[in-house]
C-alpha cells in the first residue's frame, strides 16, 4: 500500500512523527517542542510558582543566569540554607507550594485585596500559629497571631509587587485534588490536620477534585486579572510530572494521578490555543514520556532524578532563547534522587506524619 500524494501527513514536520521524533532516540535527545517557545530576554524579570517540582525549576532558573525575581529575601543575617528552610528564595515570594490553579487565582485575589478568606489561622499541636494558605513556610509556626498576620500582610504586598512588575510568570500545575473551605471556597495547599497545623472539621473543610472545565476557568480568571495589572506579562505553564502522594478519591492512586495530569495538561493546552501570550513547556512530557523511567525517577517511582531535571532545564534554555543551545549530556543511569537543597514538599511532610501516626497506632 502506498500513501497518496494528496495526504496532508506528507507535509507534517519530523517532530510530528513518532518514528522520527521519539522512536529509537535516547531520552535526553527527545525535545517535545516543535519550535522555539516563549523567548525570555536576559533583562526579563522572571517569577515562578507552583507545586514541589516547581522548586527544581526555580532553583535551576536562578542558577541559569535568568533575571529571577526575588521579592522576599529573608532576614539578611541568615545563611542561604537557613533562609531556604524558612521558605525564602524557594520561589519569587514566600508563598510556599501553589498546587492548583484556584490556589494561584486566590493568591492573586488576596494580594490585590479582592478576596479575604474567612478561615482563621491554624494552630499547631504545640500551639504555634500557622497561615493556612502557606502552612509550610514557617517551620514551627509563628509565636503569635499578630506575628503571623503581619508576616502574611507583608508577604501579600510582595506578591502584589511581583505580579505588577514581572515580565514572565512560570507556573507549574501540580494537582487537581484539593481541600476547600465550605464557607467561602478558599482553597488550602494541604488538608487541615495533616501535620502542618489546623484541625480537619468535616463540616468546614470539603474535598474537591477539579475538572478540566474548572481548571480552565480558574486559569482564565487569573490571566484576566494579571492582564489588568500587567498587560505585557507572558505566562509559561507546565505540568508537574510528580505523581500524587495520595488520593482522596475512591480509586487507585495511579488512576487518580493519570486523571489529574490529564486534566492539567488539557487545561494548559486550552490556554495556549486561546491566548497568544500563554505558552506551554513540556517538562511533563520530558520526564514521563521519554520512555526511560529508571533514569528519570528514583526507585519510589515518584522522586524526579537530577538527570531528568537537567534534561528539563537544558531544553527550557533552548526553548526560551533565540539561540540553539548544545544538546544536553546523555542521561546517567538510574541514580539516587537529588537531595540538593532539600525540596520543600508538603506532601512528603504529610506522608511522614501519616507514617508516624501509623507506627504509633501499631504500638
Amino acid at each position: 500500500m502506498s500513501i497518496h500524494p494528496s495526504s496532508p501527513y506528507l507535509e507534517v514536520p519530523p517532530s510530528a512523527r513518532w518514528r522520527e521524533a521519539v522512536a529509537g532516540r535516547a531520552p535526553d535527545e527527545i525535545d517535545p517542542h516543535a519550535g522555539p517557545g516563549c523567548v525570555i530576554a536576559a533583562t526579563d524579570r522572571v517569577a515562578a510558582a507552583g507545586s514541589c517540582f516547581a522548586q527544581r525549576i526555580s532553583a535551576a532558573i536562578k542558577d541559569s543566569g535568568y533575571n529571577y525575581l526575588l521579592m522576599e529575601e529573608g532576614p539578611p543575617f541568615l545563611s542561604e540554607e537557613q533562609k531556604a528552610a524558612m521558605g525564602y528564595g524557594v520561589y519569587s515570594a514566600r508563598y510556599g507550594n501553589v498546587y492548583t490553579a484556584l490556589q494561584l487565582l486566590q493568591l492573586f485575589q488576596r494580594a490585590f485585596g479582592r478576596f479575604e478568606p474567612q478561615e482563621p489561622l491554624w494552630r499547631m499541636l504545640e500551639g504555634a500559629f500557622v497561615d493556612p494558605f502557606r502552612p509550610a513556610v514557617q517551620p514551627g509556626g509563628f509565636h503569635s497571631e499578630a506575628e503571623c498576620l503581619w508576616d502574611r500582610q507583608t508577604h501579600l504586598q510582595a506578591v502584589r509587587r511581583m505580579f505588577e512588575t514581572l515580565d514572565v510568570f512560570i507556573f507549574t500545575l501540580g494537582l487537581t485534588e484539593a481541600w476547600l473551605s465550605a464557607a467561602d471556597g478558599a482553597v488550602f495547599p494541604v488538608c487541615p490536620g495533616s501535620g502542618l497545623g489546623g484541625v480537619h472539621e468535616p463540616g468546614r473543610h470539603v474535598f474537591h477534585n477539579f475538572t478540566a472545565a474548572e481548571v480552565i476557568d480558574h486559569l482564565e480568571q487569573f490571566l484576566a486579572l494579571l492582564r489588568e495589572v500587567n498587560p505585557g506579562a507572558k505566562v509559561i505553564l507546565t505540568v508537574s510530572p510528580v505523581p500524587l502522594m495520595a488520593t482522596f478519591e475512591p480509586r487507585h492512586v495511579l488512576q487518580a494521578t493519570t486523571y489529574s495530569k490529564a486534566v492539567l495538561r488539557v487545561a494548559c493546552e486550552e490556554m495556549v490555543r486561546q491566548y497568544a501570550d500563554v505558552h506551554y513547556f513540556g517538562s511533563y512530557e520530558i520526564v514521563t514520556a521519554t520512555g526511560d523511567s529508571r533514569a528519570y525517577f528514583a526507585e519510589d517511582r515518584r522522586t524526579v532524578s537530577e538527570a531528568a531535571v537537567g534534561h528539563v532545564i537544558a531544553y527550557f534554555r533552548r526553548w526560551s532563547t533565540m539561540d540553539q543551545q548544545p544538546a544536553p549530556q546523555r542521561a546517567a543511569p538510574a541514580e539516587q534522587p537529588s537531595t540538593d537543597g532539600e525540596t520543600m514538599c508538603d506532601e512528603d511532610k504529610i506522608e511522614a506524619a501519616l507514617r508516624d501516626a501509623e507506627m504509633g497506632a501499631a504500638r
Binding site: 532576614p75 539578611p76 524558612m86 514557617q138 517551620p139 509563628f142 509565636h143 499578630a146 506575628e147 503581619w150
Partner: protein
C-alpha cells in the same frame, strides 16, 4: 612620715570581654556595708564578639588575657589551684588568700550590633512577652524564630566557654547583661531600627540569663536600676548611645559584690 596613708588592699575583680568592661577599668569600689574594697582589673578584647571557643577549647585570646592577669599558669591551668609551695608562700606574704578569682564576663553586644548592621533600619520583629516596646508594622517582619536561632547559635561559643571555665575551676564566673538602650534613639546614628535594637538586646539578655541559670552561674542584671522600665535613663548614657557611664557601673559593682557574698 609626713601624712602618707596606707589605704589597705583592694581585691581584684576581673572584667573580661567587649568594651562594656571599660567603665570598670582601674575602678575602686567599696560597698556600703563594711568590708573589702574591690579593684577593677579589665581585659578589653577589641572586636572579639562571642567567638569564645576555638576548636574544642576556649579561644586563645581569652587564655592570653587570663594569663596576662596571672589567672592561668604557663600550662593554661587556673593559677590559684597550683598547690605548690610558691603559691602558698606568695599568699602568706601578700596577705591575699588563695581562692578562685571573680571573673565578670562580657560578650554579645558586638554580635547584636552585627545583626543590626546587616538588617539596616527596615526591619522589626514581634518579641514574645513584650514588656511594652511594641512593633512597627510598617517595617518588614523578621520571624521571631529566625532571631531566636541566630542569637542562640551566636552565643553558644561564649556560653560554652563560660561553662568550661567553671569546669576548669573558676567557680566565681559571672556573666554581665548587655546594657539597656536609650529611648531617644534618633539622637544617635546607630544601626538597625530602634525597635530591633532594644528588643534584640532584651532577648539576648533572656538567653544569657537562662544560660546562667543552667550553668548555676550569677547573671549581673542592672536593667531595673538603670532604666525607666523600658529604656536607659539619659543620665547613665554616654554620648555614643551605646556605652554606660561610670556612675552606671556602680550598680553593677553592687550586684557583683552581692552575688559574691551570696555564694560565700
Amino acid at each position: 612620715m609626713t601624712g602618707e596613708t596606707y589605704l589597705g588592699r583592694a581585691n581584684p575583680i576581673y572584667f573580661i570581654g567587649e568594651s562594656h568592661t571599660l567603665p570598670f577599668r582601674d575602678g575602686l569600689f567599696r560597698p556600703q556595708a563594711p568590708g573589702d574594697t574591690f579593684l577593677g582589673r579589665v581585659r578589653f578584647l577589641q572586636s572579639f564578639a562571642s567567638r569564645w571557643l576555638e576548636g574544642d577549647g576556649v579561644h586563645p585570646n581569652i587564655l592570653k588575657a587570663m594569663q596576662a592577669e596571672q589567672l592561668l599558669d604557663d600550662e593554661g591551668n587556673p593559677a590559684y589551684l597550683a598547690k605548690d609551695r610558691l603559691t602558698f608562700r606568695t599568699a602568706e606574704v601578700s596577705g591575699v588568700p588563695v581562692r578562685d578569682p571573680v571573673l565578670v564576663l562580657f560578650a554579645g553586644d558586638l554580635d547584636v550590633f552585627d545583626m543590626l548592621r546587616q538588617t539596616g533600619k527596615g526591619y522589626d520583629f514581634d518579641l514574645p512577652d513584650d514588656p511594652g516596646y511594641g512593633v512597627d508594622r510598617t517595617l518588614t517582619p523578621i520571624p521571631f524564630s529566625a532571631i531566636d536561632m541566630r542569637l542562640r547559635n551566636t552565643f553558644l561559643p561564649f556560653i560554652s566557654a563560660c561553662g568550661r571555665l567553671r569546669e576548669a575551676g573558676f567557680g566565681r564566673v559571672m556573666i554581665h547583661s548587655l546594657p539597656p538602650r536609650p529611648r531617644a534613639a534618633e539622637m544617635f546614628d546607630l544601626p538597625g531600627s530602634p525597635g530591633m535594637r532594644v528588643k534584640l538586646t532584651v532577648f539576648a539578655n533572656r538567653i544569657l540569663r537562662q544560660a546562667c541559670a543552667n550553668l548555676g552561674m550569677p547573671f549581673i542584671d542592672v536593667w531595673d536600676d538603670l532604666t525607666d522600665g523600658l529604656y536607659l535613663r539619659p543620665e547613665f548614657c554616654l554620648k555614643d548611645g551605646v556605652h554606660l557611664t561610670r556612675s552606671a557601673a556602680l550598680f553593677s559593682w553592687t550586684k557583683i559584690v552581692e552575688k559574691m557574698r551570696q555564694a560565700g
